[in-house]
């Protein structure tokens, strides 16, 4: 693979991991799974550090902000406000993956 394609592939792989963790976390919350806390922790870990080449830092910053607020609303037992942020976070990641696929 060329350098550009290799970088795009690495970014896609990184974001697919984030997406999978967030998807599992959202479903866990809906279903009141006892593993929800652990899976949310996985999502938080996956957005904590810089991604390949730092190309998606703008997205990661937004994800961290949304997740921090989701935690806050969860603590306040405001399920809709929490879930709105997690849904938007999931869609932000999806759209970025789609964008990368077209590069």
């Amino acid at each position: 693979m060329s350098g550009d394609r290799s970088m795009s592939a690495a970014r896609t792989a990184h974001l697919l991991g984030i997406s999978a963790n967030l998807n599992m976390a959202t479903i866990s919350l809906w279903g009141q799974s006892p593993r929800a806390a652990a899976i949310l922790g996985m999502f938080e870990a996956s957005i904590r550090w810089e991604g390949p080449g730092g190309h998606d830092e703008d997205l990661l910053v937004r994800l961290r902000d949304l997740f921090e607020e989701a935690k806050k609303y969860h603590a306040r037992e405001d399920f809709p406000a929490m879930m709105a942020r997690l849904r938007v976070a999931y869609d932000l990641v999806s759209i970025r993956i789609i964008e990368i696929s077209g590069e």
Binding site: S28, L29, W30, G31, Q32, A36, A37, L40, G41, R62, D65, L66, E68, E69, A70, K71, K72, Y73, H74, A75, R76, E77, D78, F79, P80, A81, M82, M83, A84, R85, R87, V88, Y90, D91, S94, I95, I97, I98, E99
Partner: protein
Amino acid sequence: MEMINAAPPSCQSVFGHAPSSLLTLRTMTETEKQHDISTLTNGAMSPIWQWIEERIPKDTGVFDAHAHIGADLDGRAMTADGMRERMNAAHVKKSIVFALNDPNALEDFSGPNDVVWRAREEHPGFFVPFFRLNPHKDYDREFERCVERGFSGLKLHPVSQKFELDDERAVRLFEMAAEANLPVIIHAGFGMNRIVDALLPTIERNPELRLILGHAAFVEVLQAARVFESHPNIVFETSVARAAELYELFATFDPSRICFGSDIPYGDLPSTLYATLVAAEAAGVGKEHIPAILSENMRRWFP
């Protein structure tokens, strides 16, 4: 969406220990939470909401093709007043509303259907009332009562009421609706398995049937788009489908047959509007189509 046989989503401390800055927040009462809808658009949601507002048609506002009023077995609930607050805050001018999987539905959903009708009477011009039925029960009398009363459409939920879309009792309802010129919205999202193959024979036999595929039939969205393309009375409604699934729809299907929905109280207006708009934009849907998706496509059926 309706989580079947699930308790209300609890907020046990799945996030672990809250940072100390959060511990100063007092716990809101249920009433305060229900009315504090600014939490859906503030903070990190603020730039998202600003982006959405720039795309909402100023003159017609938004038409929400999927929302609930009443109570559900899973603990969710929404009042007519709560709906209006959410509509006003998000520039929604009109909403299709119908009952949840109400614990008081008994045989025929007549009680929950009455709640929806009262909402329509108390808020004239804002709600498009659909009635809900259970194909397993004797539904003829309630169907006739609701049609005579002036309900605008029928809601069917194959997951909550545990039936297949090609169950003969459901097919009969589709045919009764077609004969009464009554649009039908079906739950075609969470928990579904068979949508396209199960619906197609009924649609082919009843080309006049106006059908709204709730949640964009997201589990089979591409096949649904392919198969139903030649059936102009089938429209896709976007509520709580994810942006990636909606991207598939917008990239392959006529935007004049896609309409926005929120699925309140399972969904919310800001995040569902965002999923719809960001997917449409990413798929290359022209800005000129956005007012149609958000409003005009449904207003063709419900002016």
